[in-house]
Assembly symmetry: C2
Homo-oligomer: 146 residues x 2
Amino acid sequence: MAQTHLKEALDTLKDTGVRITPQRHAILEYLINSMTHPTADDIYKALEGTFPNMSVATVYNNLRVFREVGLVKELTYGDSSSRFDFVTTQHYHVICEGCGKIVDFHYPGLDEVEQLAAHVTGFKVSHHRMEVYGECPECSKKKEMH
Amino acid sequence: MAQTHLKEALDTLKDTGVRITPQRHAILEYLINSMTHPTADDIYKALEGTFPNMSVATVYNNLRVFREVGLVKELTYGDSSSRFDFVTTQHYHVICEGCGKIVDFHYPGLDEVEQLAAHVTGFKVSHHRMEVYGECPECSKKKEMH
DNA sequence: AAACTATTTATAAAGATTATAATATAAGAA
DNA sequence: TTCTTATATTATAATCTTTATAAATAGTTT
């Protein structure tokens, strides 16, 4: 599964004329295997061992490239740094306000809201963003123990 | 209407034991009258005339206080700085990807999504966030003229 | 293999936000 | 009203994320 995603992603890069470098390969692979929606710095630190000379700028540059090609989504929550998510299928996120954990959940999509927004405002709507906030089971349990 | 909002907001501050300073008064008033979802710096610049000695930190501090008390919502989009929105009634935003304009629209709320998320993930859901992206009529018109 | 162009690296710069410490002030008590 | 005290403001510096720049490197095409 992950292999397929990686292969498809590399094909996308090839088709778009984006060069496949070892760094790009590694960043993509890390994003696909990571279930944690990492920040740019997370990725940088994770690949430090394999690429001792890699620059943070490289990570940022390539995440931007991936975003522009549609492989990666950038998540900007309130906290300081953006998180990056490899795009697979339509899903949303629940975010724990206690520990920051992000969990995926699937939902049919909110076409109806987009249509209403388009109708009311006259915008040509292209997409939307939605996320749910709350407290994860672990944090709830911790609270109970006090 | 705006007067009412301001009065209610000041009452909220009083009830919460937050001191009402001239700066806070001015920031709240500006937020209520502003239809533009300003950044901290917008507010800072707008009040420069009235408070020549006011520090940016004051603006940030007070926006945080207002957020904690529930008077203000912080909007974090992809672009560099947060925008702040006086909380009135349940509404969402459409954001123009061309010029950045933000327009409000009302929608019943997405309780169903929250419930599904809670059920699937085991989270105690508290709230959600949603916004729609597209191109505003003005930007569409500009494009056509080329 | 040579040439061309995109990418990486290293570093500096920019920009937003927060921390700190000294000063000033709001709000309640005397 | 004046006094008192905790809180807020100011000025400044520091931090942190992200972007810009220029030189060096490495893919890709011929």
